[in-house]
């Protein structure tokens, strides 16, 4: 299907481009300003190509998007009522099967009269729709070509039209990011609303303040253990990432020789380039057993009670430590930026007063850079909250509320993954609850990001 559409479109585009160019070249005679072309021949070519291809492409795009649904609706209206009475799911399944057979006509006849008839009807509808779309596309293309060709005169401002169209195309590209965001918000909101309106679904209050989470088997959707686990892992990660990241940034920007900085900074940033699944593997195979051994050792100490630490094979601490290490370059490069943005004179003033570097940093640079550093930490927290693979692989999955870092724990992201992998029928409370969790996750990280980005922006303006 793909090449069958793209190749003729491209051919039509090339043809009309050359046609337009040659045709305009023929009328451009004379050398006085008034007898010259308003636009270069190439632009006339582009104009004609746009006139031809764009409408045809739009028609074909509309066909791709709407045809299948339209055919199904037509078919649906012709199905006997006894089938329709079986409920929408059965009918959908039936239509899927019909579509599958209809696409591959070589498949053997099943013998079911209704089914075979539906397949035939589907195929004929599909064929006629496709024929209609193609004929329409050709007609529109030819029409555009003819209409466009009439415009091609000496005074025609082809360049203006072409440029306006291309800027429009650029705008469409920029809008895709917006459409994505709207898509995220809408899909999350839609599914979340559906979740709360389920007959046996929980209330908003129940989800936000319930203490019992058991979405896989039971119907308990109290998400507090999830929020707690997420927070706990994020805090553990920050305990690692903030001091190490901040001190690395300070050392690299204030103390390190240019040569050391030249290789240490990219090396640190390598940490950010490693996929999270690799961190997860590392956390689960090396750090988690280490944490467990350590916890068992602590338990065995004479002055500690036997069951002081849970010492689980997967633990919040393992996930948190590795996640923190992953976030180090994030904190350090953002802090590096804000430290470097502190104006030179502030630094020079302190140094000129005879303060050693460390005092300059502690009493002048850090206070001046503080908002930026806090923003960096906020961004890092939002990163830690949304991190998935490390917690999925190394932090366990039991919904517990415990302050013991060696116990396994669950997070929002872990639950989303475990609820949505496997069968995803979009009608069970279990599946849709993942979207409600996603909504909370999106909301929280969005708030963090907006605050942080605002601070960073304002901060940049203040010193620029």
């Amino acid at each position: 299907m793909g090449w069958l559409v793209i190749a003729p479109l491209a051919a039509a585009g090339f043809f009309s481009f050359y046609f337009g160019r040659v045709r305009v070249g023929a009328i451009s005679t004379g050398s006085t300003i008034s007898s010259r072309l308003n636009s270069q021949p190439n632009f006339h070519g582009y104009f004609l190509a746009i006139c031809t291809v764009l409408p045809a492409a739009l028609v074909l795009f509309a066909y791709l998007v709407f045809a299948e649904g339209n055919i199904r609706n037509t078919l649906l209206s012709e199905l006997p009522t006894y089938l329709l009475n079986r409920g929408p799911e059965q009918v959908d399944l039936f239509l899927d099967r019909v579509a599958e057979y209809g696409r591959d006509r070589s498949a053997a006849v099943t013998g079911n009269i209704l089914f075979d008839a539906s397949v035939d009807r589907y195929a004929s509808l599909k064929g006629s729709t496709r024929l209609f779309a193609f004929v329409l596309a050709i007609a529109v293309g030819v029409g555009g070509f003819v209409l466009g060709r009439r415009q091609l005169t000496r005074t025609f401002t082809a360049r203006a039209y072409v440029e306006r169209t291309s800027v429009g195309l650029l705008f469409v590209c920029a809008a895709i990011a917006v459409v994505t965001t709207i898509g995220i918000v809408l899909s999350l909101v839609f599914e979340t609303v559906r979740f709360f309106s389920l007959p046996d679904g929980p209330s908003v209050f129940g989800i936000l303040f319930g203490l019992d989470w058991n979405a896989q088997t039971g119907q308990n959707f109290g998400a507090v253990p999830l929020f707690f686990g997420t927070l706990m892992i994020a805090v553990l990660a920050m305990c690692v990432a903030v001091p190490i990241g901040l001190f690395s940034a300070i050392y690299l920007s204030e103390y390190a020789s240019p040569r050391f900085r030249a290789w240490a900074k990219p090396t640190l940033e390598l940490l950010a380039g490693i996929p999270t699944v690799v961190y997860g593997f590392f956390a689960a195979t090396l750090i988690a057993p280490l944490v467990r051994t350590l916890a068992q050792w602590v338990n065995a100490l004479p002055f500690t009670p036997e069951q002081l630490l849970a010492a689980q094979p997967t633990s919040a601490l393992a996930g948190g430590l590795v996640m923190g290490s992953m976030i180090i370059p994030f904190v350090s490069s953002l802090s590096d930026d804000v430290i470097n943005a502190v104006p030179r004179p502030l630094r020079d003033g302190a140094l000129a007063m005879g303060a050693p570097k460390s005092e300059t940093i502690k009493q002048v640079i850090l206070p001046a850079a503080l908002p930026g550093i806090i923003a960096a930490i906020l961004l890092a927290v939002s990163r830690a909250i949304g991190e998935t693979m490390i917690v999925v692989m190394a932090a366990g999955g039991r919904a517990l509320i415990t302050l013991d870092p060696t116990s396994d724990i669950t997070t929002v992201t872990y639950q989303i993954v475990s609820l949505l992998t496997g069968d995803t029928a979009f009608d069970s409370a279990k599946t849709i609850s993942a979207f409600a969790l996603g909504f909370v996750l999106f909301g929280v990280t969005l708030i963090f990001n907006i605050i942080a980005l605002q601070v960073v922006q304002r901060y940049r303006e203040a010193y620029d």
Binding site: R159, V162, E163, V167, L169, L170, A174, I176, A177, V178, T180, I184, S187, L188, I244, G245, F247, S248, Y251, Y255, T267, L268, L271, G273, I274, P275, T276, V277, V278, G280, F281, F282, A284, T285, I328, K357, S358, I361, K362, R383, I385, G386, E387, T388, M393, T413, I416, V417, L420, T421, T424, F435, G438, L441, F442, T445, L446, N449, I450, L453
Partner: protein
Amino acid sequence: MTEPLHTSPDAKAERLRLRYAKERRFKLYGQIAIAIAIGFLAILLISIGSKAASAFSRYMLVVEIDQPDFTPQSDVSVTDVNLAVRDQLQVLFPGTLTDRAARADLFALTTRLSVLPLTRQIQANPELANQPLTAQLAVSDDLDLYLKNDIRSHRRLEIGTTGRLSRTEAGLYRLTTADPDGFFEFQDRLVAENEPATDIIIEASGWWFVLEDLSGATLILSHAAGAIPDLGEQDQSPISAILLGSLSADRKVTNRQIAMALYLKERQLIEKRFNTSLFTNADSTYPELAGAAAAIIGSLFTMLVTAIFAIPVGILAAVYLEEFAKKSLLTSVIEVIINNLAAVPSIIFGLLGAAVFLNTFDLPRSVPLVGGLVLGLLVLPTIIIASRAALRSIPPSVRDAALGLGASPTQAVFHHVLPMAAPGILTGAIIAMARALGETAPLLLIGMVAFISEVPASPNDESTVLPVLIYKWFSGAERAWEPMTSAVIIILLIVLVSMNLVAVLLRRRFERKW
């Protein structure tokens, strides 16, 4: 400072000393921080690398089938080839295979499906069916791990010379030493050396036995491999004992299998080879047959879709925002949205893909097309931000010069600014693609965790990608998955590092100071 500082020179010097000590401590904290970060990276790479190293080679069992006898030549099945291989294996172990357990041990050296590649080869070229064949079969994952790791704890002892061999009623063998007093001596030695007690294999002039009992005045042995010698007096050849360093109850490989493997290894019928199946095979439930080929191709298709979608759209969007957009509410909203979108957790994009592409548009699950689109949306903001930075770094004088010579704004941008910004944009695009290549979570949500045993042929076939394969193999129960997973991680990291290297080199090569 309100009070005057009339302090003694000593106090001043002391205070200065403290301040400088603080200074040195502060600097030390910074060095420690960097050392921790880099040390963590080093530990990570070394621990994964050392695990991966063993997975790049593996032991293969080489079986020569001299007279293949596949009766229906046109349609040779796995079972046919397997039977031929088993016949050949039985020839290698005459006399051993008296009981069912021994045969089971022998056939368990490889899995049944390990003849699959050979079978496919025969199916493709039917004339092979009656020519001598060499079957290279992957040994079972447990044996492979044993031969790679646990074999290091083997110890070989020379314990005397053979004397008399006889048979017991239970089908076992009894061996005495040539020297009538020798036995007690070496029994004491074996007991002393073999502390804590582990299993022992006895080898003498090409026959291999498993030591069953040492307590009597003779060695009670069961035959494992090699020809069975004639009973009675033996010519005096040295007996060596191999202390295995482990008990058969603690491992998945039996003593007899170890003896068989050692016997085959000595005759170079079990050999260490480069693990090509890691790159040529698709996924399998047997670690020894599994490979990353399907995931590599799947990753390739996914990246293709991502690149085709995200790179042009990202660049054009950046051009619009940086060069054409007028300062308006709409453009500033777009700007804020793009900056925030770059920081949205990746799993949210997975939810978007599941809800919109799978549920609303009814696109198929587990296909690179959908995965590529989701990843494309994920990296789009990154590409836009990098491209905008690259465009911003081109000085306005370039635009002004173009406009001054009569170029339209579009021409100024597309003919002058964009080509100059291309290296920077390309760098950003490569880094974004590297990020997409390592992304796992969103793909889990659109079903790319399915078990894929066929290499996908198009972006519309079910497939998986490298990071997801890592996750799946990591979840596998067998011990052999761990080195395999590490090997795939190393492959992935090599690809990612080379992508980043290309980006860095590009930046170096084309970096321009204005």
